[in-house]
């Protein structure tokens, strides 16, 4: 059984439908990256999967159950979403923000138990934030702050983590740091990951399954090596380029110039 599944889902805002997905099944332990040009519906799909956006039609299933019928806190113990640029009060400490990840586990009076403390300590350790735990989040660098948000989501102890462009605004070193951290969580702890990324080479390097979106539809879905091609670059991203393949390495996307526009396109 798939851990997360979209069945004939239509998503959109106000009167407009932006995303149509007949079927998408996510299995436990997958590392999925969603790519696509701006406006192709990547974030909308992610929000729909995380019930931050209610589908206009169809259903999202979590562990085979309709997500709309589950208790919000029960969903939160299994599934977490990190939006693109979350904001926290700048003066609260790293540790305090991570503690807020325990919200779905606490009872009515919000009393913390030893399992809660263990979960927070584990999240701090997994993201290597021990030295920063008492610092106000407003004083952190972009990369450190992103690690704190990931730690907050980990303290929630979900089995599935959805992240919307977790590397935006970070320099290349910190981008790789965040993606390697996520890779470790996936391979060592079996955390199911679904990321939206912009950079095709990073997507090819980290994803074990690549989903390509265009105009609100999934147009390709599979291992990066099978999917990435010069034709896909041209048809989906409007880019003239080539995909370099070398044994033992992920495919490398070499974008050269915008593809000449076809009449009327």
């Amino acid at each position: 059984m798939s851990v997360l599944e979209a069945d004939s889902v239509e998503l959109g805002y106000d009167g407009r439908t932006i995303v149509r997905v007949p079927r998408l099944a996510i299995e436990a332990g997958e590392f999925i990256v969603i790519v696509g040009p701006n406006g192709s519906g990547k974030s909308t799909l992610l929000r729909g999967l995380a019930r931050a956006l209610r589908p206009k039609a169809g259903a999202v299933l979590l562990d085979g159950q309709r997500i709309a019928r589950l208790q919000p806190k029960e969903i939160a113990k299994r599934l977490a979403l990190l939006p693109q640029s979350p904001v926290a009060p700048p003066d609260i400490s790293v540790e305090e923000l991570i503690w807020r990840g325990r919200h779905p586990h606490l009872g009515f009076f919000g009393v913390a138990k030893s399992v809660d403390r263990e979960a927070v300590e584990w999240a701090i350790g997994a993201t290597d934030l021990g030295a920063l735990r008492h610092r106000p989040v407003g004083q952190l660098s972009g990369g450190e702050r992103q690690r704190v948000w990931i730690a907050m989501a980990l303290a929630q102890q979900p089995r599935i983590l959805l992240l919307d462009e977790p590397t935006t605004y970070l320099d290349i070193g910190h981008q790789l740091e965040i993606l390697s951290l996520l890779e470790g969580l996936n391979s060592e702890h079996g955390l199911t990951l679904v990321l939206v990324l912009q950079d095709l080479n990073q997507a090819a390097r980290f994803a074990r399954r690549l989903i390509v979106m265009q105009g609100g539809r999934i147009v390709a879905d599979g291992p990066p090596t099978d999917i990435l091609s010069a034709r896909l670059l041209c048809e989906v991203f409007g880019v003239e380029g080539e995909v370099v393949r070398r044994d033992g390495h992920p495919p490398f996307v070499h974008a050269i110039r915008p593809a000449p526009r076809v009449n009327g396109a």
Binding site: R51, A52, P72, L79, H103
Partner: protein, 322 residues
């Protein structure tokens, strides 16, 4: 550590209340006040303390706490540091309802005025909420709807004031706010709403900590965001509406006090709520005591004094942060 500071603030409030009860045309030392409070022996001190000053000080405590906590909740729920009961139309609704009954239906007795003002506040808060609803509430729409309604109600109130001659004096007292002539009647009306509102706010403070992280993160953390937002706005309207219904329009409190609380205690709402209540109470008692003594026998509007105290401090906070 923070709880210790809250305790110190509570102690300070008790001392200031004792001093405020003793201050006036007749001065009593704290010991005399304490004696008058506990003894059943009839005396001038006992009459002045029990009948005049104690109810007024208690009213200032609850009105100050209500307005401050209402502002703190609204700032959290809208994620906007400028939100307060006035901005969301809640205060303007109460004042409009009170002035409208005074001028249009002067036959309605003063004992109904608080209830009418309270109803006006709640109705205005509800209207703002419904006007901002579009399959869900966005904080920005909530603020803009409130600003629109607030301007409209203030315009109506001004129209009533200039077109009517009856009771204009009493009507104006609603616009500037204060505790002149307020006593046990008003207190017995106010305290149940205060108690329910303040305790609910404290119990919900953990959820404010979640909603300030944004709708998406809050949803991801398992919060029923729309339900929590409705509850918090309703509690804020209850607190501010009941305060306006006994004391009229005391501006600035709901806006400034939560900032002072955050400056002293940080952004954790489990501390911001009680700190706002205590600081609001403290400043209102000091402000009202000054209002009735500085120009004695005339009274200054307490809102004027609280703004005079609060505005420089808020400016200091703004410059310090930048």
């Amino acid at each position: 550590m923070a709880w210790l500071r809250l305790g110190a603030l509570t102690g300070l409030l008790a001392v200031v209340m004792l001093a405020a009860i003793g201050t006036g045309p007749l001065f009593f030392s704290p010991a005399e006040v304490a004696r008058a409070l506990v003894s059943s022996h009839e005396s001038l001190a006992r009459t002045v303390v029990w009948d005049l000053r104690l109810p007024r000080v208690l009213l200032a405590v609850f009105v100050g706490a209500n307005l401050a906590v209402s502002g703190a909740l609204l700032q959290g729920v809208t994620r906007n540091p400028l939100a307060d009961p006035y901005l969301l139309g809640i205060s303007a609704g109460g004042v409009f309802a009170a002035v409208a009954t005074l001028t249009v239906l002067p036959g309605i007795g003063p004992e109904w005025r608080a209830a009418v003002a309270f109803g006006g506040s709640l109705a205005a808060g509800g209207f703002t909420y419904l006007a901002a609803w579009k399959g869900g509430i966005s904080p920005t729409r909530l603020i803009l709807s409130g600003v629109a309604l607030s301007s409209l109600l203030t315009a109506f109130t001004s129209t009533l004031l200039v077109t009517s001659t009856t009771s204009a004096q009493i009507a104006v007292s609603w616009l500037v706010g204060g505790f002149l002539g307020r006593g046990w009647d008003h207190f017995s009306w106010l305290w149940p709403y205060s108690a329910v509102g303040l305790l609910t706010a404290q119990a919900a403070s953990r959820h404010v900590n979640i909603i300030v992280l944004g709708d998406e993160v809050a949803t991801s953390l398992g919060q029923r965001v729309e339900r929590v937002r409705l509850l918090l706005v309703a509690v804020a309207a209850l607190l501010a509406g009941s305060a306006v219904s006994v004391a009229g329009l005391i501006g600035f409190f709901g806006l400034a006090v939560p900032h002072i609380a955050r400056f002293l205690f940080g952004s954790d709402y489990r501390l911001v709520i009680p700190a706002s209540a205590l600081i609001g109470a403290l400043l209102m008692v000091v402000g009202d005591t000054a209002a009735r003594t500085v120009l004695d026998p005339r009274e200054l509007p307490v809102g004027v004094l609280t703004a005079a105290m609060g505005a420089p401090f808020l400016l200091y906070l703004v410059r310090r942060r930048a």
